[in-house]
């Protein structure tokens, strides 16, 4: 399933990953309002789908996908992250998505796998 091309060093492509993740989010919570009952389900699904799509790309990366869904109630949210890796090959991307009732923030970290 996983094919590694030896000698192939590809850098992480954040745009491609970001598009992939956006589509996933849209597909799951696009057009629905925040619901206390379903939100757990949503976050799990988002993470799962995003990861599957990323792995499907067949790149030699280890992925870490993080999803946060926050109800729009006037509170503020501030996060920050930093990584120590091989900046040439590894990378991350963060997708911020919102609708009328909630925010959704998905972060993808990709670490190159070297054999």
């Amino acid at each position: 399933m996983e094919e590694y091309h030896p000698g192939d060093e590809v850098a992480f492509n954040p745009d491609e990953a970001s598009n992939c993740v956006k589509e996933c989010i849209e597909g799951i919570i696009g057009g629905v309002d925040y619901s206390q009952n379903k939100v757990n389900q949503w976050t799990a699904t988002i993470v799962e789908h995003s990861l599957t799509q990323l792995v499907k790309q067949g790149k030699p990366f280890k992925y870490i996908v993080n999803c946060a869904v926050m109800q729009k109630s006037g509170a503020g949210l501030h996060t920050a992250s930093s990584c120590y890796w091989d900046t040439t090959t590894d990378g991350s991307c963060t997708v911020r998505w919102e609708n009328r009732t909630m925010y959704c923030v998905v972060s993808v970290f990709a670490v190159a796998v070297t054999l």
Binding site: G76, S82, D86, T87, T114
Partner: protein, 551 residues
């Protein structure tokens, strides 16, 4: 193959970690605690690159909170020394509200303070101020204005015609009506006094003067009281109050001097009040000497024109004096009214025809009426008119000015229960009105309507006679409330109101209906025809044949 577990520890974690691989992949990584320097140790079978690691950029996610606008609204009423009230209005969610409330509480406490009291004046200072000239003048003028304003329940600037419209409740019929308007009575000054004379001001049609005689119950009060009443405002107190030491028997506004009020008293003195001064006592008096009058003066009249006018007064001893209003210390001329060189005439009433300053008519206590003149070859009593069987109480010359001159006509009232109509050209009455059942105390022609006159009698009846309608009975009649004897009647200068004074000190004002009071141009010619009829009747009742036609 045992899974190789490699743990990557964050730089904050202490210690280095070793992971031992027992598998085919024989590689040990040894991490140094200091992440900035990293050394990869281990043999690599495959030409492995050494990767240089570095820290990535910090990824941040910022979702800003929604800014909630909060405000606090409070009002502060003007602070009084004792308690201050405040109102607060908050419009937000509970959390901020609690905060603002506590803030306001502090403000409330801070803002209470006491006002400093104004300095109290000492008694002496107060006395000084209240007796000063400026204060008296100011006070005198302003209390009138305040009284009017306080008594009014409507706009105090409403004008005469506006008031007229309000009092139309009595005027239900077409206008042949005599309706009560108001009465004037002052608790202090009018009580137990008889109204002896009335007059309307020629300048201000709403002002009316009434004179009163002595109040026996209060010997310490002045005997003579004159009150000026104002029709225009609803206040019930007089505009001006004047006194004098002796009962005032007759009073009038000085025709050409708007500020002067002339009075003739029981003692024979003529007194003059001025409403410009704040004194209540007369500003001028005639002397009590034989040069002037020594008997009660029942008639005072200002005759003449603006530039040449005299005050004429006649007393009951037949003496007629003519005065200048500037100098009342002695009469300009005096004359004794004697008839046929016998005893003098005891004059009870005097009237000048409209526009005439020389000739006049007087009524006497014996019941005879005389025509006299002031100057000329026939100065003194001229004609005698007999007809009444009792003292003549009132006499009035025809006043209405119109296309035809009726100034030769006059009416008289007497104790013999009748009112008689005379012409100066004939010494017998033209007509005798005998509808009354008591002494008739006064009569007066309407100043605007040629065929209308009013009379009052001792039963409290006020009658309006319109000679066009009927000569047998009065056209309109009303009995004044209380049925006191009515002593005087006076038409207002416009001919729409009638004032009557009674024996209890009350002055009643009645409105005369439009139809009755307002003259029409053809009324004069109609009256001329009426006169002819009356004369014809008179001629029939007497044996006299020759009659003169009215011009």
């Amino acid at each position: 193959m045992s899974p190789s577990s490699q743990s990557v520890s964050t730089p904050s974690e202490a210690g280095s970690q070793e992971s031992v691989n027992g598998g085919t992949v024989g590689r040990t990584l040894q991490w140094d605690t200091d992440p900035s320097v990293l050394q990869l140790l281990g043999d690599s079978d495959v030409g492995r690159k050494i990767h240089k690691l570095g820290a990535s950029k910090i990824t941040q996610v910022d979702i800003l909170p929604k800014e909630l606008v909060t405000y606090c609204k409070e009002t502060q009423t003007p602070l009084a020394p004792h308690q201050s009230e405040e109102e607060e209005e908050d419009e937000e969610i509970p959390v901020p509200k609690a905060e603002t409330e506590t803030d306001l509480q502090d403000n409330e406490d801070n803002q209470e303070y006491t006002e400093a009291h104004p300095r109290e004046l000492t008694e002496e200072e107060k006395q000084q101020i209240t007796h000063s000239e400026d204060f008296l003048v100011f006070f005198d003028r302003t209390i009138r204005v305040m009284e009017r304003a306080l008594a009014e329940d409507s706009d105090i600037f409403f004008d005469y015609s506006g008031r007229d419209m309000e009092d139309r409740d009595g005027d239900t019929q077409a206008g042949c009506n005599l309706s009560f308007n108001r009465f004037f009575y002052d608790e202090h000054w009018s009580k137990h006094r008889v109204v002896t004379c009335l007059d309307w001001s020629p300048q201000f049609s709403e002002l009316m003067v009434a004179s009163y005689n002595a109040n026996e119950d209060t010997p310490h009060e002045p005997d003579g009281v004159v009150l000026v009443w104002n029709m225009k405002f609803k206040k019930t107190t007089p505009e001006y109050i004047f006194h004098c030491q002796s009962s005032v028997m007759s009073v009038g506004f000085a025709q050409f001097h708007p500020n002067l009020v002339v009075g003739g008293t029981y003692s024979g003195q003529i007194v003059l009040w001025d409403n410009r001064s704040h004194r209540r006592t007369p500003v001028q008096r005639t002397p009590l000497s034989s040069a002037a009058h020594t008997h009660p003066v029942y008639c005072v009249n200002v005759v003449g024109t603006q530039n040449a006018n005299n005050l004429i007064s006649v007393s009951t001893d037949g003496k007629m004096c003519s005065w200048s209003l500037d100098m009342l210390s002695q009469p300009m001329e005096s004359m004794e009214l004697v008839y046929n060189k016998s005893k003098p005439v005891a004059v009870t009433g005097m009237a000048f025809p409209a526009g005439d300053v020389n000739n006049f008519v007087v009524g006497s206590e014996e019941g005879t009426v005389y025509a006299a003149s002031r100057h000329g070859s026939k100065a003194g009593i001229g004609e005698m008119f007999e007809g009444h069987q009792g003292p003549v109480t009132g006499i009035s010359c025809h006043n209405a000015v119109g296309p035809i001159d009726f100034s030769h006509l006059f009416t008289t009232s007497s104790f013999d229960w009748t009112v008689k109509l005379w012409t100066t050209k004939h010494n017998k009455p033209l007509y005798s009105f005998e509808d009354n059942a008591d002494y008739v105390y006064d009569v007066m022609w309407s100043p605007v309507h040629p065929a209308l006159f009013a009379s009052v009698d001792g039963m409290g009846r006020l009658d309006l006679w319109n000679l066009h309608n009927d000569t047998e009975v009065p056209t309109a009649s009303v009995t004044v409330e209380g049925s006191c004897a009515l002593n005087r009647v006076r038409w207002a200068t416009g001919g729409r109101e009638v004032a009557v004074g009674d024996s209890e000190g009350r002055v009643w004002i009645y409105d005369v209906g439009e139809q009755l009071a307002a003259p029409h141009p053809e009324d004069w010619s109609r009256f001329a025809r009426t006169l002819v009829e009356i004369r014809a009747n008179q001629g029939d009742s007497e044996e006299e044949g020759a009659m003169e036609m009215a011009a």
